[in-house]
């Protein structure tokens, strides 16, 4: 379906990647843009990027393209936002990290190496072994980390945590280059008078 502006009315996953100055208050400034439009954030991850003093946000939302494009423009309006880019899933490489806490007991009695096999087959690994429990770590897409969770359930998963998605675009441009262009743009966009 299309709306009057020729936009698809389909809802799908979009990844919004934002570069900002690393400054207190900005996360709030960004998220209220979503809050105000009652758009739920599926996941969000923020940390310093490869450029010192610059933070990278990866925000996942499930909305229409039209809404996503408008959101991105609103985010760009924030003074300390250096750039905001909209991607569909296939434009990015992305991962999530999941941690599973499983009691040690079944592991010790695991004569058929079922847990070990599970871990191997799922390309997961054991992060720590404690007296009472082990912690398994897996990186992957949500469907993959969920699959392992389902399979581990039989051994009793006492805690399961999954990170927000982090993603890297398939674009070849370097962040440094982008920032340089930005500096030139802000210098050249001054008013003559």
């Amino acid at each position: 379906m299309e709306n009057q502006n020729g936009y698809s009315t389909d809802v799908k996953l979009f990844i919004i990647s934002v570069l900002t100055e690393n400054k207190s208050g900005l996360l709030n400034a960004i998220t209220i843009i979503f809050t105000r439009r009652k758009i739920n954030i599926e996941s969000i991850n923020v940390s310093e990027s490869e450029v010192s003093g610059v933070s990278r946000y990866t925000i996942v939302v499930k909305i229409t393209r039209e809404k996503a494009e408008k959101l991105v423009k609103q985010i760009r309006k924030l003074i300390e936002v250096l750039g905001a880019f909209l991607y569909e899933e296939e434009d990015t490489h992305f991962q999530e990290l999941a941690l599973y806490k499983v009691p040690l007991e079944p592991f010790l009695n695991d004569s058929n190496n079922r847990i070990e096999k599970l871990i191997r087959d799922n390309f997961a690994r054991i992060l720590v072994i404690e007296r009472e429990y082990i912690i398994i770590e897996k990186t992957g897409r949500k469907s993959e980390t969920t699959k392992l969770f389902e399979e581990l359930k039989q051994f009793g998963v006492s805690e399961f945590v999954r990170s927000g998605r982090i993603s890297i675009s398939k674009s070849k441009r370097r962040t440094e280059t982008f920032l340089k262009e930005l500096e030139e743009l802000s210098a050249s966009s001054m008013r003559k008078n």
Partner: protein
């Protein structure tokens, strides 16, 4: 605390000296050319007020009667001068009282710098006396805000505040300064902010887009210009006039665009929107090329978007990228400052006239005149009408006054019937529609342009929201003229109740005080007029008075403003009665 974005090395304009944070705030204001502050003191901003004691010869402080008044006064000042209005307030309630005016300034793109005192850094987050998260509260309604907890940052933050407030699409900025920072001493130097790497306020005009726009205009049979506030902000009035005249294009104005184009110009076709003129609204749905300049297709202008200008190719000249394609899909987007874009496009546009097309507007004018204006300006009997009062004010001031309006029927009547001849002379609350705006805004406008006649036109409802500012007007002898159009109703709401709620006048009738007595109580001259015979004389007396003056005009209780596009309806279905 992260360092702020580095400004380029430019020459230091001030000598280094040891001062307190409080004094640094004032020195920074002077560097930015500030001469007036609207404010209200309190505990958390006392050090700044104490420092101000020594600067009274250079910085005039207008003590308002409520912090909301300070914001609207600053808005009035900014709108007529183009310079940021400056506001001081204390923490907590002082700061929260600013929010309405900040939100108003944000949506109407008015430059403003608000400085609030905050509790000491050590007390932040402890629910200390008068501590409020002003940063959090104001974040959604400011262009930028910042809390200063380290005195060394102060000059840089002040410089950034002014740069951000006035550049690009202007807006309000709030700087929250903790009390310990105000008291701390440091080595002060000041450097104006000239760029911020993450902020490009004036996008470069794209030559291809200019070509494309010019081509559309040159091929158009029925081109049509919608002039918005962006023209006034960028100072593109002359360029607009040249474009319209060269290509023979009719020009309509948005509410905030009023006074950007002279109302008596042959190409001027009127005012757009819910209570705008008939022709400008319906012709939007008949033009072939719509040239929207510095306006944002507000829903009060477009009505139902599904039926808005669907036939037209749309050229949108707009400095804020997020406004492009937000409501109306453009054919050619010129993401640029209005003046830059118009300057670039002018030489590419062919000379033309569109006499037949213009005649269509004039035919609409005739219809509107016969059905609405004729009766609105020359009622045969009955009480005074808002429309005729505005028309008299327009004639007596020759369209040259700065006209400040509040929100409601009187605002729409003024927008329709005041014939603006000089630019930057319309001050009103558009996007937020804030009742209580006009009285303080008129005060600020008069301070900003003391040589101009400033006339505030206010409803009896809105007047009572900020009437305490009469105290400020009296104390500082601000010679603004105030006309209350008293219909003893919250008129605009009553009109909706009449038209859409079967005349169920729920909670809109007002039993009003004696406005003249109240005004005189504040020490301001005032009088009241109730009939047609005396209205022009009463207005003339007010205009001639040397000093502030309030004239209460009793008007017809149940007058309606027509034409009207019912909310959410198509602008083609504008009702004339």
């Amino acid at each position: 605390m992260q360092a702020l974005t580095k400004a380029p090395a430019s020459k230091t304009t001030s000598e280094a000296k040891i001062v307190t944070g409080a004094e640094a705030v004032l020195l920074s204001l002077l560097e930015e050319g500030v001469d007036t502050i609207f404010g209200y003191p309190g505990g958390a901003i006392m050090p700044i007020y104490d420092a101000l004691y020594g600067y009274q010869d250079r910085l005039r402080h207008i003590l308002v009667r409520h912090e909301q008044g300070a914001t609207h006064a600053a808005q009035g000042y900014a709108r007529v001068t183009g310079r940021p209005g400056v506001v001081f307030a204390t923490s907590g309630p002082g700061a929260t009282n600013l929010i309405t005016g900040i939100a108003d300034a944000q949506i109407d793109s008015t430059p403003m710098v608000c400085i609030t005192g905050q509790v000491s850094s050590a007390l932040l987050g402890t629910d200390a006396f008068q501590e409020t998260d002003v940063l959090g509260i104001s974040m959604p309604v400011t262009k930028w805000n910042y809390q200063v907890t380290d005195v060394k940052e102060l000059p840089e933050v002040m410089a950034k505040a002014f740069f951000i407030a006035k550049s690009g699409r202007p807006g309000p900025v709030l700087i929250d300064i903790t009390k310990d920072v105000q008291n701390a001493k440091f080595e002060y130097t000041y450097k104006k902010c000239e760029k911020i790497r993450s902020y490009a306020p004036y996008p470069r005009v794209n030559a291809e887009d200019i070509e494309a726009a010019a081509k559309l205009i040159n091929a158009a049979k029925k081109p049509y210009i919608l002039a918005g506030h962006g023209i006034l902000i960028s100072g593109a009035q002359k360029e607009l006039l040249s474009l319209a005249e060269k290509a023979g294009i009719p020009v309509a104005s948005t509410l905030l665009g009023l006074s950007a184009f002279p109302c008596d110009h042959p190409l001027y076709v009127g005012y757009l929107g819910m209570h705008g003129n008939y022709g400008p609204n319906v012709k939007t749905n008949e033009c072939d090329v719509l040239i929207a300049i510095g306006m944002r297709f507000d829903d009060r202008v477009t009505g139902d978007l599904k039926t808005y200008a669907r036939q037209a190719k749309v050229i949108h000249i707009e400095i804020d990228a997020s406004e492009i394609d937000k409501n109306v899909k453009t054919t050619v987007a010129l993401h640029a400052d209005a003046k830059d874009a118009l300057t670039a496009i002018l030489p590419k546009v062919n000379k033309n006239t569109h006499a037949e097309w213009l005649a269509e507007f004039r035919a609409c004018d005739q219809i509107e005149y016969d059905k609405v204006i004729q009766k609105a300006l020359n009622p045969p009997s009955g009480g005074l009408l808002m429309s005729e009062v505005v028309n008299y004010i327009s004639e007596l001031t020759k369209g040259e006054a700065i006209v400040v309006t509040d929100v409601g029927q009187h605002q729409m009547a003024t927008s329709r019937y005041y014939k603006y001849k000089t630019t930057d002379s319309n001050v009103t609350s558009g996007g937020l529609g804030t009742m209580g705006f006009a009285l303080p805004a008129a005060m600020g406008s008069k301070i900003g342009k003391p040589e101009k006649q400033v006339v505030a036109i206010i409803g009896d409802g809105g007047f009572q929201m900020t009437l305490q500012e009469l105290g400020t007007i009296a104390q500082f002898k601000i010679a603004t003229k105030i006309v209350i159009l008293n219909n003893s109703f919250l008129g605009m709401v009553r009109q909706w109740q009449q038209l859409f709620h079967e005349k169920r006048y729920s909670c809109t009738e007002m039993i009003n005080p004696d406005f003249v007595a109240i005004t005189k109580g504040f020490g301001i001259q005032a009088s009241k007029v109730t009939d047609r015979e005396n209205i022009t004389q009463a207005l003339q007396t007010m205009l001639d008075h040397d000093g502030p003056y309030l004239l209460e005009v009793v008007v017809e209780k149940e007058e309606n403003v027509f034409p009207m596009v019912p909310a959410g309806a198509s602008i083609s279905n504008i009702r004339l009665e």
